[in-house]
Amino acid sequence: MSTPAVSEPRQPIPVEFADEEESIKITGFWMFLVTDMIIFASLFAVYAVYRSRTALGPTPQQLFHLGPTVLETLLLLTSSFTIGIAVWAMRSNRPRLVLGWLIATMALGAGFVITEISDFVAYTSHGATWHVSGFLSGFYVLVGTHGAHVTFGIMWAITLLLQLRRRGLTPITRRKLFTFSLYWHFLDIVWIFIFTFVYLSGKIA
């Protein structure tokens, strides 16, 4: 690779940025997160506008139970912590630790998805399907899109796990792990806003 045009930092940079080409990919991934953020912003806008359009279905206040939601929040926050530790372990060059924390992250993520699905099943079994009202459509699609992202993340983590086991920590796998961690933290941020803006504020009269 040629000498880069951006001004270079004076002091050593974190290991995942050391390779020019891989660091460009990290920049690219940030840009992807930006587009994803606008996707979620659009869905939030839809939800915000549709919140009162409950037609003949339930209102947010009637629908939501905070219990499962708090559990989901705990699971996701913890998984955000574990993947953070995995990156820390990568930076201190301890591949075995990386694997362990990655597996923990996946397990927590799976717990989150299962809780969310069972929550959705509970709602729909009371007849609150998305056909019923604009509000429910907005709700399921916003929260469901996030859930789908988490599910995708778990599958991504599986492929990552296989690569890490085969190849250890190389510039490429380090970059892949780091971008995965960005993705995962990003989902955590989105969830916090869902928790706040959908569930908690749904309980405010």
């Binding site: 359009r53 037609a55 003949l56 009202s133």
Partner: protein, 301 residues
């Protein structure tokens, strides 16, 4: 020389085009409905349009002249006496100038724009309006007069010199309600009720149309507005109430079918054809809820 010829041709073209516009506009007849408004709303919109057009003409003229001079003076031919300055690439004052002048022109347009926008959102204070509830259907217009208790399809009577307040909604895909001779349009949308006021200052029959494409027979969504004196208007409502048939829910469901009809008149109409705002708009008598009543879904074709 080839180059000289082509740019001269460009200039001649422009002159011809300008002449063409001039001819067509000055020779314009009554078909230019936007230029011959028949009510205060259309008139204020026209004034604004003219004002903006003049400002734009100034801009266009300035650009054309500057551009023309540049092209004529600085072509690349041997012995061109005009100065060649290949390294001249910025000029603080010039560049500031063309930030400022457009800004000034825009400010001049912006002030009346904002004023008229707010003004048109207000009914004239002194007079109380005639209220008409408008529902666009596939592919026809239903007009309900809640105070006069009558309803029509595809035609309207309004009194001259009195503001008319239209409440617009749809029990079909979107349309816009537009009577160009009287003033601008507004959307009819399912699940919303939008207000629009218009006024006719001269008696006459004005055509209206939908401005928003809504399917196969969209083109046929013309309707007529009869602007008549107040007494004639009252007489007309009396006549409808005494001689026209009532509109039952069944008759409304007939109107929901995907087709076109001629003009129709009714002496009354059911309340449930108008959306209720609770729970974000429902409509108990119409298509909103009666999905099964939706007669022929393939009627697009």
């Amino acid at each position: 020389m080839q180059r000289v010829r082509s740019s001269r041709r460009a200039l001649r073209m422009l002159a011809l085009a300008a002449l063409g516009i001039g001819l067509l506009v000055s020779g314009c007849g009554p078909q230019y409905v936007l230029l011959h408004p028949k009510g205060p709303v259309g008139l204020s919109e026209l004034h604004l349009m003219e004002f903006a057009a003049i400002a734009m003409a100034v801009i266009i003229l300035v650009v054309f002249v500057l551009f023309g001079i540049a092209v004529v003076r600085f072509r690349d031919y041997p012995g061109n006496p005009n100065p060649y300055t290949p390294h001249w690439h910025s000029h603080k004052w010039l560049e500031t100038l063309w930030f400022i002048i457009p800004a000034v022109i825009l400010a001049v347009i912006a002030v009346p724009t904002v004023n008229v926008t707010y003004a048109l959102a207000k009914l004239p204070p002194t007079k109380d309006p005639v209220v008409i509830n408008v529902t666009s259907l596939n592919w026809k217009w239903l007009f309900e007069y809640p105070n006069q208790k009558v309803a029509t399809v595809n035609y309207l009577y309004i009194p001259v010199g009195k503001p008319v307040l239209f409440h617009l909604t749809a029990d079909s895909p979107m349309n816009t309600f537009w009577v160009p001779s009287l003033g601008g349009m507004e959307y009819t949308m399912p699940g919303r009720v939008l207000p629009l006021w218009l006024e006719a200052s001269k008696p006459g029959v004005y055509w209206g149309h939908s401005g928003q494409f809504s399917g196969i027979d969209f083109e046929k969504m013309f309707f007529h507005v009869h602007a008549v004196t107040e007494s004639k208007f009252t007489a007309w409502t009396h006549r409808l109430r005494s001689s026209a048939p009532p509109m039952t829910l069944a008759a409304y469901h007939q109107l929901l079918r995907f087709n076109t009809v001629g003009s129709e008149s009714y002496s009354s109409f059911p309340a449930s054809t108008w959306p209720s705002v609770s729970h974000g708009f429902t409509l108990s008598g119409g298509m909103y809820l009666l999905k099964s009543n939706n007669p022929n879904p393939t009627a697009q074709h």
